[in-house]
């Protein structure tokens, strides 16, 4: 019943550039319900203490453990080895800066994105800390919540051919974030104001509709619909002007 798993894992430490990037093989016996989180921790404890990878929540919440699992981006903590073949290839996510081995820095990328998009509510209304929250109808709240579920894991960016080829493309996570603020009635920015940043080839018109983001997002955010929403609003803004 129990299988032997053959891992092929990408190794490179930027602190020791004299050792070139390479793939290293490991063997491990499979245990019931083993996730890649467990497998990688066992490899580090039992075989190679220098192996680098990221985990925080181990429950698909923090988004730090995304990596290429047999070529496809996914959360290692959510992936069970029983769903994978005997041979498992692990690589770090592309597009993001490599920290070492399987660990990449998604934080700087997403911070830059959020600053670029000014991903916070823009309003002239003075803030009243004592006041009640504004009411919002349920469908709008749900639509915002749907977009908010993004855990910034970076899988959609790594899965996107355009993001791989063009470093300035904001990708599905970015466009999903734009959609979130376009839907939110509290944000007073008009589509034409968003247009300056997003109605470009770095924004929504750089997207060629390959839909790997939509197929791969571990939170199953409806990215096809979110991207199309932004595209329609931006196309309209381009025709309307101000």
């Amino acid at each position: 019943m129990s299988r032997f798993l053959n891992f092929s894992i990408f190794r490179y430490n930027p602190a020791t550039p004299e050792i070139p990037p390479r793939m290293q093989d490991f063997q491990l016996d499979e245990t019931p319900n083993m996730s890649l989180f467990i497998a990688l921790n066992r490899l580090r404890e039992e075989q190679d203490p220098s192996l680098m990878f990221d985990f925080v929540c181990r429950a698909a919440v923090c988004g730090s453990c995304a990596m290429l699992i047999n070529g496809r981006p996914g959360l290692a903590c959510k992936t069970l080895t029983q769903d994978l073949p005997d041979k498992i290839t692990l690589m770090p996510l592309p597009v993001f800066k490599l920290v070492g081995d399987l660990s990449v820095d998604t934080g700087v990328w997403f911070r830059g994105l959020n600053e670029n998009l000014e991903a916070w509510i823009h309003t002239d209304k003075p803030f009243d800390p004592q006041g009640l929250e504004d009411r919002m109808d349920n469908p709008t709240a749900h639509a915002i919540y749907d977009a908010e579920r993004c855990i910034e894991c970076g899988s959609c960016i790594a899965a996107c051919a355009t993001a791989n080829m063009r470093a300035d493309f904001i990708g599905a996570a970015g466009l999903n974030r734009v959609a979130r603020f376009l839907i939110d009635p509290r944000d007073e920015r008009q589509p034409y104001q968003v247009f300056e940043v997003v109605g470009t080839d770095e924004g929504v018109f750089g997207c060629i509709g390959l839909m790997a983001c939509d197929d791969i997002c571990p939170m199953e955010i409806p990215l096809q619909q979110q991207l199309a929403l932004v595209r329609r609003k931006m196309a309209l803004a381009s025709l309307k002007g101000k």
Partner: protein, 214 residues
């Protein structure tokens, strides 16, 4: 701030390029399918085919339509190819990425670039042949198809239909609110339908008695 980028920045044009791509693509799609239906009237017999060709001619549809289609192909080709991975590094990244990912929709874009360029060449030959024996008549078409054009035209039919229907798929994905899974099946059926119709028309032409017509 970077001077050259700030001065050159015109998101409006980047949006309009996308809209031009959308509308030239849609226009060519409608033209292509209408053209397939018109050609398929040969199945009803040479008389029906000739009557339709004559009608398009009489109402000047051919004289407006053909230059418009040629223009649309040129504009569409230029605009649609602007995002192709032209630099060697981009191309290598795209191919390696697609192989790692093994994802059908990602490959489909590559297919569209290749089929687009193939359509450009094959359609140019096809338009040239048709115009050089103007007007369109069943006997002339049958003669051409029986003397070697069959395979070229079948290839054009197949490639153009794949390109156009993958294009329609991509338009629906990019612009509509309908989930992909809901329309993929129908697009595949429609593609098979149009290719089959075109193929039958070609076969009918192939076996048409040219001497009996002239």
């Amino acid at each position: 701030m970077y001077l050259q980028e700030t001065l050159a920045k015109s998101p409006r044009w980047e949006a309009w390029m996308e809209l031009i791509e959308l509308f030239t693509g849609l226009f060519l799609l409608v033209f292509l399918q209408f053209h397939m239906l018109a050609v398929a009237t040969i199945i009803l017999g040479p008389a029906a085919f000739n009557r339709d060709a004559l009608m398009l001619d009489e109402y000047y549809l051919s004289y407006i339509g053909i230059p418009l289609v040629i223009l649309a192909i040129i504009v569409h080709g230029l605009v649609a190819l602007r995002k192709a991975p032209w630099r060697y590094k981009e191309m290598a990244i795209f191919i390696q990425h697609s192989r790692r990912l093994a994802h059908l929709d990602t490959w489909a874009w590559f297919v569209q670039i290749i089929t687009g360029m193939a359509v450009l060449i094959l359609a140019a030959i096809h338009i040239w042949n048709t115009l050089s024996t103007w007007p369109i008549e069943a006997a002339k078409s049958a003669f051409r198809i029986q003397s070697g054009s069959f395979s070229n035209l079948f290839l054009l039919l197949l490639i153009a239909e794949i390109h156009a229907m993958v294009g329609l798929y991509r338009i629906l994905v990019k612009w509509s609110w309908i989930h992909r899974q809901k329309f993929t099946k129908w697009l595949v059926y429609a593609t098979i339908g149009f290719v089959a119709l075109g193929f039958i028309a070609l076969v009918v032409f192939y076996f048409l008695d040219v001497k009996g017509l002239t």
